[in-house]
Symmetry: C2
Subunit: 318 residues, 2 copies
């Protein structure tokens, strides 16, 4: 009986979401824990994660599970490692043997790791908006910008297991913003949740236009900008349009690479799709060669945000 | 006996190369014909091509061949068509049912079409520098800039058969040069043979530096620039370094997509690799996230130029 369950784990920059999943893709129980551990604290995080897994497994009356699938930034499918993840302090600049550590802590249970965006793509392909598609690209717009690329029905891992780092392709070549990865001008520096917040801060310095964003005390977040847009704030709406434009320009490059049927938007910023979609689609089509103009679908995830990543990660474990 | 031979055809912007190939990948005889036919003259070109195929087949004492494989710009593997090829006047803005036309003309022989760069990648994987590799990108630097992407040992065709148009990804976002495809700033507009010649013309206007290129009467070609570089001309060498830099910046984006083991340079400009390689590799590594820095090989094709495309195309036909 306990062979019928796996655990899916979605490790994000702020939290890790853990769920127990059955064969039908139903999440039986789930929980979020803090993932913001510091340098050298990978071990502490693994202990907290495993303790939560034990707790959830026990909660539904199981003794063990068939396997654990993990989606994590810079997760390596081939090696089971998390390698130099710029958004995880405990995995920055080092190689963390994550699958091995968890498996050891949990008495040898089979543990598989992949890029969090690859996991989300698997979830979307199995249960979501990309159901039935063989060629699509998943773009996750969260704390960072990740990507899961599916070609011919298979997730692309590449030579070393790290394929699909589209958040670190170059969006702005000249005087680009510094990115968490150490480079400049990355797509992530403009179109992640933090990137959008940086745009707001930049615009408020460079422009004198009125905006209710100016009334916000403390650090502006992408949520603040969304709320302002909802109230009709012109600058907030323009920030999302600018973000959409940068995404669309790069999406055209991605289409030229793998000719996908669709690009699926996922993550926090995908909720602002009503503000970014038009400029994104326009910019993409302007930058596509004629054979693709108007032919590539941009869709938003059909899965509940926490579910997609957990389900995708769990699919690895079967 | 005649079942043991196929025909490989490489359609370029200037010429088409045709070869009869045996199972061991030996080209038994080959010939080049003009491919510069005008608007509405696809039929004429097909007739000339088929006449040459008949001539070659007859020459080695065969009655027929097992199949014909064709590499052509904007060739569609799924449909057997050439669709809106900006470098072929007879296929610009229209869909040419190329495989069907040739098969009909030659009494029903099986005919397969793919992108010329995909064909070259197949040739390189089977017989050349990418032998044994499962993940690599072939970049063809000729009249245009093409690409053949291999992931997990398979050529990437994408949803519609047109994947791998990396020559039309954006190299220069602001005030980019017009490209033959109708867009601006494409990689092809800077790093094809004609792109390099355009750089020379631009630099001679913008700079007052001396160069033996200024003595050339008539239109400057990439060959002239190569010859000048060989004579130690500083501007000519800098033109290649600039070309390498633009390639390297974009290669970093391509690596972030599919994490290839190597990028293989092919075509006329690859002969100038001694002038472009350092700036290319430096620019690529500067633009890669740390996990790939210094790890992606840039190599030049190991096959004779005409052979790779013919062999690759022929591999389709078996």
């Amino acid at each position: 009986m306990e062979k019928e369950y796996v655990v899916g784990v979605d490790v994000g920059g702020q939290t890790a979401k853990i769920g127990v999943v059955n064969r039908r893709g139903e999440i039986l129980c789930q929980k979020s824990i803090d993932s913001k551990y510091g340098k050298g604290e990978a071990d502490k995080f693994v202990k907290a994660l495993c303790s939560t897994i034990r707790e959830l497994v026990k909660k539904i009356g199981l003794e063990s599970v068939n396997g654990i699938g993990i989606g994590a930034p810079d997760g390596n499918f081939y090696k089971g490692t998390i390698e130099d993840a710029s958004n995880l302090q405990w995995a920055k600049g080092i190689i963390v043997p994550f699958a091995e550590m968890i498996s050891k802590e949990l008495g040898g249970v089979k543990t598989v790791v992949t890029n969090d965006a690859n996991a989300a793509a698997m979830g979307e392909m199995t249960y979501g908006a990309a159901k039935g598609m063989k060629d699509f690209i998943m773009i996750t717009l969260g704390t960072g910008v990740g990507s899961g690329i599916v070609i011919g029905g298979n997730v692309v891992y590449g030579h070393d297991g790290f394929a699909g780092e589209l958040g670190h392709t170059c969006a702005v070549r000249t005087n680009g913003r510094e990115c968490g990865c150490g480079k400049k001008g990355c797509l992530e520096a403009y179109t992640s949740a933090t990137g959008v917040a940086r745009t707001a801060k930049e615009w408020m310095v460079n422009s004198l236009k009125p905006s209710i964003l100016r009334d916000i005390k403390g650090d502006i977040t992408s949520k603040d900008i969304y709320d302002a847009a909802e109230k009709g704030d012109k600058m907030a709406i323009e920030i999302f349009e600018y973000t959409g434009r940068i995404l669309g320009e790069k999406f055209a490059d991605f289409v030229a690479f793998s000719a996908p049927e669709a690009i699926v938007l996922f993550g926090g910023l995908a909720h602002a799709s009503k503000y970014i979609m038009k400029s994104l689609t326009d910019a993409m089509n302007e930058n596509l060669i004629s054979l693709w103009k108007g032919k590539v679908k941009i869709i938003t995830s059909a899965l509940k945000e926490s579910d997609a990543a957990i389900l995708g990660a769990s699919a690895l474990a079967w």
